[in-house]
């Protein structure tokens, strides 16, 4: 069976220890978490957690069932099963001197990023997009000196009428 990347998004009780149960499940059963993103929703009693993982059909089915079995997890969706929007944000600090200074500015514009902090030798750039787009940006500026990369992990939402709520 072929492995593929999946985006699993779930609603869980916003309670102490809930996150550790999700993360613990992955290490306990030998699954991988590629990215992880979690925050409360408009309903303060709920957290939305989104993670990406890689596995074949059977492994993903088992991960999905095991996550659903956790008492704190209320609902779960595999966003990759349908049409969806995926976003990740990144803050990246690069050395920007000499000819590279203008080059990085241009690349940032092409990727529709924003320079959010600047001094005589550095740019801090903010970029939002799919995981792939952020990877591409890092690739594009790799000749410059990348000093620090902070990524939020993937979050996502289904397109159209499909809603993950109680």
């Amino acid at each position: 069976m072929e492995s593929s990347r999946r985006i699993l998004s779930l609603l869980m009780e916003n309670e102490a220890g809930a996150l550790s149960r999700v993360v613990g499940l992955f290490s306990q059963r030998g699954y991988n978490i590629e990215t992880l993103n979690v925050a409360p929703t408009n309903d303060k009693s709920l957290s939305r957690l989104t993670l990406t993982t890689i596995g074949d059909e059977r492994k993903i089915e088992q991960i999905t069932k095991q996550l659903n079995k956790l008492i704190d997890v209320i609902k779960l969706v595999d966003l990759t099963e349908g049409s969806h929007i995926e976003r990740e944000s990144m803050l990246i600090k690069v050395r920007a001197t000499g000819a590279m200074r203008e080059e990085i500015k241009r690349t940032t514009d092409i990727f529709r990023g924003q320079i959010v902090d600047v001094n005589s030798t550095l740019y801090t750039i903010q970029l939002i997009g799919t995981q792939q787009k952020l990877d591409a940006f890092i690739e594009a500026v790799k000749d410059a000196n990348i000093l620090e990369v902070v990524r939020s992990g993937v979050s996502g939402i289904a397109r159209g009428e499909k809603i993950l709520s109680l």
Binding site: E13, G17, R21, Q62, K65, I71, I74
Partner: protein
């Protein structure tokens, strides 16, 4: 050693977060709330051990509780005893331990219960709220350390939350797929001066937990079609049939269809072991007939079983012709190791009952007594009976009983005979466990109490205490070995204190027998750390030191008489029966691994199946 905070503070002012006071609400401390909650839940025994963090709770128990508390000698035993109580009654077992080492000692018992889906509520003390995270005396992160081995857990954060949390804990423990639930209570939240209004919820509803209460009728319909079409069927029954109280439903369905039945180690007794349709246990030490029938089947109806590695042997070679119908209340058990063709998520009893109803409706409609292909089924039974005749576990002797040495198998057979098959049998882990499973023919559910999933040595004696307390008028026998019994032997003292008369049947072979068996078979008989013959205690003197009766058996000719005497005496006193058995006996059949199929077995030291060769 106790901490220094036990004095009452100057001011007994209630802290913030006070629930709304209704005029009729009684004001109780956290400790008192816990006691009341346990009473509301109908708890019959608390197995526990006091310590600093649970002193308030113990004081509340002492002052207010009518529930008997059994003081064990090690917290592992508290959880095993609660577990044995639960396995023999179907009710939720309760253990109470202190923080730190009390909590960590309980972990083995919690994990044991988790692996076998046993309902249990474990209450652990925790250091005071403001000390959590400071590496305080006897602090351990119980929620963290128990997380992989609990169904769920709660760290109590406010006194007024205690009733609601306890209600949820008991509900979670004994619904859906049962399991242990930990409730960790910081010491300050059980203090007698922190009183809050007490409301015990009548019902519980959790938006994040909705266990299946009924199988999908459409899936059941499809399953019924497969059942009626089968030519070489088998029912593979597991512990879920016992936990799901589905024994009667299973018997009714199997009888109606005249299908052969096999069982996992955990499911023994759900279907009567002495019934003609029962083939014995399957798996690594399953019977020749059960493993062959599984392998040759064209349809497997799996109920409350989980296709674990001790059953399947090599998954890729598992039952090549079989269509698999899998009923389980826990969807994660379905298609976890072996893909299921027809999954049914639902409780065992209700699902089996609906299956039979649907079958009977079809038969009534068509005016046929039994829709199954009777000619095919008769052929199948003929084949099964041929397997039984060749190498069956009960039709021929699977061990040599003509030698002078006492064979462990015959000890179990004799125990079965002398107890008319009606005893509760607990066991530890190893060869004696397999011999008990194979040769004590269990006819009723809840009768066979052993640690199947985790394989916990030390389980036998404390679990027997829980069983005996729940069934004071029944014979309770702990079948053990000289290795396992020493892992929780301190409980002999608990049995003295509470006058718990169980029979300990120690199959003493002077080796860690199952380890030795593997070393014989795979390591050319190099017994790395599997014997201690020169340092075994005199178990007779040891039993006597605790005030019990010790009885040694070395001579085969006296075995029957001694066992009769032991059974008689154990009506009033704990009897430790130390039986010296043949140290070189192996458990057979045994799956050939690695790369063997279900029907590849060692049948004795020199004999193996020759499938397709």
């Amino acid at each position: 050693m106790l901490d220094k905070d036990s004095e009452k503070p100057d001011q007994a002012a209630p802290s913030k977060g006070l629930a709304e006071v209704t005029p009729e609400a009684e004001m109780l401390s956290g400790g008192e709330m816990l006691v009341r909650a346990l009473e509301e839940e109908g708890v019959e025994f608390i197995f526990g051990y006091p310590g600093g963090a649970v002193l308030h709770i113990y004081d509340a128990l002492h002052k207010h509780s009518k529930i008997p508390h059994i003081l064990v000698r090690h917290e592992q035993a508290a959880t095993h005893a609660a577990d044995g109580y639960s396995r023999s009654t179907g009710k939720t077992g309760v253990a109470l331990v202190t923080s730190g080492p009390g909590a960590t000692n309980a972990i083995t018992g919690i994990a044991t219960a988790y692996m076998d889906s046993i309902p249990m509520v474990v209450i652990s003390g925790q250091v005071q709220s403001h000390l959590i995270g400071e590496d305080a005396f006897q602090e351990t992160d119980m929620i963290g350390i128990s997380r992989p081995v609990v169904k769920h857990s709660y760290l109590v954060q406010r006194v007024e939350d205690i009733p609601g949390i306890l209600k949820k804990a008991f509900y979670l423990a004994n619904s859906g797929r049962p399991g242990p639930v930990v409730v960790d209570i910081p010491k300050d939240l059980s203090a007698p001066w922190e009183k809050r209004p007490f409301h015990y919820p009548k019902t519980v509803k959790m938006r994040s937990y909705t266990p299946s209460i009924k199988g999908h009728s459409g899936q059941i319909k499809r399953a019924v079609e497969e059942l009626l079409r089968a030519k070489r069927p088998i029912i593979y029954s597991g512990g879920g049939v016992i936990q799901g109280r589905a024994s009667e439903a299973l018997r009714a369905l199997a009888k109606h269809l005249n299908f052969p039945v096999t069982s996992t180690l955990m499911g023994l007794g759900a279907y009567p072991g002495s019934d003609r349709q029962f083939l014995g246990m399957l798996g690594m030490h399953g019977t020749y007939e059960a493993n062959n029938t599984m392998h040759g089947s064209d349809l497997i109806l799996a109920v409350g079983a989980r296709f674990d590695d001790r059953v399947t042997n090599t998954v890729a070679k598992f039952c090549p012709d079989a269509t698999i119908i899998h009923i389980d209340v826990d969807p994660t058990s379905i298609s976890k190791t072996v893909p299921s063709h027809l999954p049914i998520v639902g409780p065992a009893r209700e699902t089996l009952e609906e299956m039979l109803e649907q079958i009977q409706a079809i038969e009534a409609r068509d005016g046929i007594a039994n829709k199954v292909d009777q000619a095919a089924l008769a052929l199948w039974w003929k084949q099964i009976d041929a397997w039984r005749a060749e190498q069956g576990i009960y039709t021929s002797n699977r061990f040599d009983d003509t030698t002078d040495a006492i064979k462990p198998q015959e000890v179990i057979q004799l125990l079965h005979e002398l107890t008319q098959g009606k005893a509760f049998v607990t066991s530890d882990v190893g060869q004696h466990q397999m011999f008990a499973a194979q040769y004590y023919v269990f006819d009723e559910p809840h009768q066979w109490i052993n640690s199947g999933g985790l394989g916990t040595m030390g389980f036998g004696l404390p679990s027997a205490m829980g069983v005996k307390l729940a069934h004071p008028d029944s014979t309770v026998v702990c079948v053990t070995g000289e290795g396992s019994i020493q892992m929780c032997i301190q409980e002999l003292s608990t049995c003295t204190q509470y006058k718990i008369p169980v029979l300990i049947l120690n199959l003493n072979n002077g080796y860690l027998g199952m380890v030795k068996q593997w070393q014989d078979m795979q390591y050319e008989g190099r017994y790395a750390q599997s014997t201690y013959q020169d340092s075994l205690p005199d178990f007779i003197k040891l039993a006597e030191a605790y005030g019990h009766v010790g009885m040694k058996v070395t001579d085969k000719s006296t075995l029957r008489e001694k066992m009769q005497e032991a059974l008689e005496q154990s009506k009033t006193q704990l009897v430790f029966m130390d039986v010296y058995v043949d140290p070189h006996e192996h458990v057979y059949p045994m799956h050939i691994a690695p790369n063997g199929a279900m029907n590849d077995m060692w049948l004795s030291k020199g004999e193996r199946t020759e499938n397709g060769k």
